[in-house]
Amino acid sequence: MAQCLYTFNVNGHSQTVAADPLESLADVLRDRLHLTGTKKGCGAGDCGACTVLIDGSPVNTCLTPIGTVNGREITTIEGLAVNGELTPLQKAFVHEGGIQCGFCTPGMVISATHLLNDNPSPTTDEIKEALTGNLCRCTGYGGILRAVQRCDNYRGDGTCAKKAEPPADKSRKYDNVNISIPRVDAADKVTGRAVYTADVTLPNMAYGKLLGSPVAHGIIKKIDISKADALPGVLTILTGADVTDTLHGVSPARYDEEILAKTKVRHIGEPIAAVAAIDEATCKKALSLIDVEIEPLTPVLDPMQAVADGAPIVHERYKGNINTHVEQEFGDLEKGFADSYHVREEEFIGNHIQQAPMEPHASVATWDHDGTLVLYSSTQVPHYVQYMMAHVLHIPLGKIRVIRPAVGGGFGGKAATSPIDICSALLSKATGRPIKMVYTREETFTYGRGRHKQYMKFKLGVDKEGRIKAFKSEIYLDGGAYSSFGVATAYYAGSMIPTLYHLPAYRYDGYRIMTNKPACGAMRGHGVPQPRFAFECLLNMVADDIGMDPVEIRLRNAMDANTMTVNDLDIGSCEYKATLEQVREKSDWNNKYGKLPAGKGIGIGCGGFVSGAGYCIYRGQVQLSHEKPREHFQKKSIFPHANAIAKVSEDGMAVVLMIGAADIGQGSDTVLVQMCAESLGIPASRIRMRSEDSDISPIDLGAYSSRITLMGGHAVSRAGTAVVEKMKPYAAKLLGCDPSEVEARHATMFPRGNESHTVLWEEVARQYFNDKGPLVGTGCYKPPDGLGGDYKGATVGTSPAYSFGSAVCEVNVDLETGKVKVEKFTDYHDCGTPINPQSVHGQVEGAIVMSTGETIMEDIQFDEKGNILNPNLHGYLLMTIKDAPEIFSGLVDSYESRGPFGAKEIGEGSTLPVLGAVAHAIANATGVWIKDLPITPEKILNALRKKQESAEAPSLAATR
């Protein structure tokens, strides 16, 4: 309907806008008033990212029509900090680790502000109640809870009342690493200033939307766009006929995705047309006017049926619907089982889950006059996006500039080039205008790339002492309709199992299967969490069978430092046993395991991960993929995986650090700044990070495989060292010593051993500039040559270093309803030197809450036609702050000689112990093992009923 004028008060100022009355207040604030601190994560009242105060009360602006707001008082996140001075609560968020990706932060801070206005010293339960409507996918709520609890520590005047700054410790080895500084982007995120991709507005910008296939499997007969094209406001419409035949994807051997489906559709929601129009509402209306005729084919949704004879074929090129088959055998399996004292076989089934970062994917594309594509994308992998855009657009990589604004979480869901990355560029080309495309929450589900559901058949043999003799794993992965990362996923599902325990003999058969569902991809822990869950459960079952304590059986098999695994992975530092001993002690395991009343349970699970993949996803050098011949694989990196430039300002007072590493909320900008500062010998506060723009920052492969701390860390610290090396001769001259004697620390330079004889760091930098011009250092990192064995797939799982961790979980199960309350987690990790301990604990807390949800409540469900039944955050449940357990996160002493300052990873390794620990605790509480995820209350009750029935009919049970 026609627009009307609405006048209301925002943050103390009267505002008048013209808008359609049913337009949401969220859209009006963001698009018309440019107050983009208010976020949209779901559009349905489920996530709370859009929370503002109206007349003093928090509400969801996505469900508030502007027509009802006339004359009311609105406070948004932008209205809290006055003249840039953060409120005490905002300071507490910054200092207590309440912020990671920051996408939930504005809504969270608004809700908490309202709580504290009413109730200055709330109880923990009151805080949880006040924040139930605000979902956070990153922090696990720990830092948020601490921020609200300790808010009164942070006075308005900037001082901290209760938390005295610790005195500078001169004896510390490092000044800037192994220390918890606040995130470098925290102040922007807590005030709503941080710009995410959907917040970007360019002059003359228009909008785009994709039309998704309404059927799961079918042949496109006709697409008639005439009615849509005639709709006023529509700028252009593209269909499969208008786009290149070049296929894209992730694994170079399996590019199989079309930009827009040309003849066949393979899952519901698969893009078949792209519309550009003057606004999103017009786009949506245009989509509804496109006539699509699709001849339906029988969809195949169950992977076990997909491999049966006569099943419908998803892709002609994947015979029998098998996308990848992995077959690996190490050691003498037969002998191992023959020598076993006890062998147990079990089947486990995982669940199909989604990363569900709070920020849905977004892209904004525009073309410069010289033919350079400028693409803003909420991506974890700017370089691979650049690479894939070059591939599909047939232009050199150098003609593509990828800008990665703040990213509201990824967890693997943003690790590939998305249809909106590509289509925004194509629509922009076609219209000559910048195009913004933002996924709805539902579209993030139909785009998919979530965790593969795995069907696992495991067999484990141990000797009398509980030592593992042989392990056999057969896994069927439900891949969905396209390859995406799936080839690597299928390999990872096998390759990481031997990193935790000494396995003398191991066989792995993996099959990735195509089905008519959205493609699965890489999600936190890539391919490993489900097999790790199953293995840890099986190990616990075996321990029970032979009457051994679960911690003990692990200690007897645990990996040791400096070991080559049975599948040729080179383990360096390893403090796995220490993590086991620590969790046992801290959780009071010995007094609890087997001694708790019915309904209460305790369980253990362990896990670890790579600190960066040993090899790049594509082979060869950085070059347009069409032009290069298929390169022969060499066991070394062709080009450096992480690259950094440190540029010192002309007055020596600031350093700009450039590296294309994607901070997606995990905090990589902060740890990289810390490591660079350490090498430079200046405080981290003097460094500004420029990681977001491929025109400025050299290539880093991105945020996946937990690689940035180790790989990016080396690159930035080498860049810092390069700067200091250049400064040394100038410092030596000023100090009257030999250049080789010069050291840099505390923003000074001095002769080694004589810290009282100093010259200011910036003075030396100025001297350098006066003489030689720009003071710049570069650094890069290549993984060691020769990683991995010589068998097929040996590269997957290789890494410079491996992390290890153990977690103990305590639960309370309502045996009448099956409801599980995960009460407590005790977690210890070996992540090498923690560069920023607060960030490490934040990753652990986030992983525990995310993976607990994965274990007990998250599950994408499909109907028989292939529709997702819960493509939203009320059907697909994420843990709220009320569901989150109490968490203790501890670290063991560890130093990795291949890592910068001894560091390894934490982001994904922290996920792996969780699933098994929760499952074990539930089994311990209920007496029944649930072997398929998620472990819902209903499954628990069914299992209890079955157990009871078989107890009542013992003869029957005995025959089974």
């Binding site: 309907m1 359609d20 009355p21 049913l22 337009e23 949401s24 559009g43 349905a44 009242g45 489920d46 709370g48 929370t51 009360s57 928090p58 509400v59 969801n60 469900l63 508030t64 029509p65 027509g67 009802t68 006339n70 809700s111 949880k128 109640e129 006040a130 139930t132 409507g133 605000n134 509402a281 017009t282 949506k284 209306k285 509804s288 009448e816 309803t817 409801k819 309350k821 409540m857 469900q861 039944l869 819960n870 009320h874 059907g875 449940l877 843990m879 709220t880 702050i881 009320k882 569901d883 819902t936 209350p937 209903e938 009750l941 069914n942």
Partner: protein, 291 residues
Amino acid sequence: MHITDVEFHQAASLDEALDLKQRFGAEAHVLAGGTDLLVELATGRTTTKHVISLSALDGLKQMAVLDDGSLAIGSLVTIAQLCNSPLISGKFTPIRETTIQMATPQIRNMATIGGNIAGAVPCADTPPILICMGATVGIQSADGHRTVPLREMFAGPRQTALKPNEIITSVTVPAQPDNSAAAYERFALRDGNAIPVAGVAGSITVGDAKQITQACITLASVAPIPRVVDDAGQDLVGKTIDEAVVDHIAEMCSNNAQPICDVRGSDDYRRRLVTVLTRRCLYRLRDMIGN
């Protein structure tokens, strides 16, 4: 459904709202808190030509305890008001105990009691407890006013006894007898912000010897409409709550449920939940009465 195609009307008074509803009838939806309607419109599950916003009708945002001790709740009273109002005390406390379990603080600030009823969603939380407490609904149209017992309001999922020109203006909960108790037990898959998989509301009034003189059990989320288990209510009369009675009633309620199977749980599971929740509800009622 495209929101841009919908005509929006901001009613300045109840009379104007009623006029508009008279004019557009079934082609118009009234907008209260919008927490249900806007999600429905955005997903296309509901379509409409006209939206009549009631947000300016301050008269419907009031609540009062009347002379006869009954509680009159304007249809635009929010769930948050029901959580916080000092009027929701004494025998009306079960209302608050229900509403504090609903949704999120933000949604509660927007969502209204009228919308919770008129939406007629099978999993709505307030109808079962209000039915057990004997609530009636005040309905207004250009033709006049009528009062309907809440239990007669529901015709099916998203279907009510409202005529196309009618608007709910109030919900009235009668004064509860001294020796009575009401309680609601719900089960959800998450501790925060989750709609119920199943719920059981119950109320009893007892005589001097604690034997039940009147009882009502209403199930949530396990039938197309809030399911009043009349047999259970009648059966309870004359009894005191003991284990045998509880088991019997729980089984009866479970048999009376007509649950569907969806993403939140199977029909079988829901039935079992009804058994458990009925038990818990009855034991709680016994405790409240003071056995």
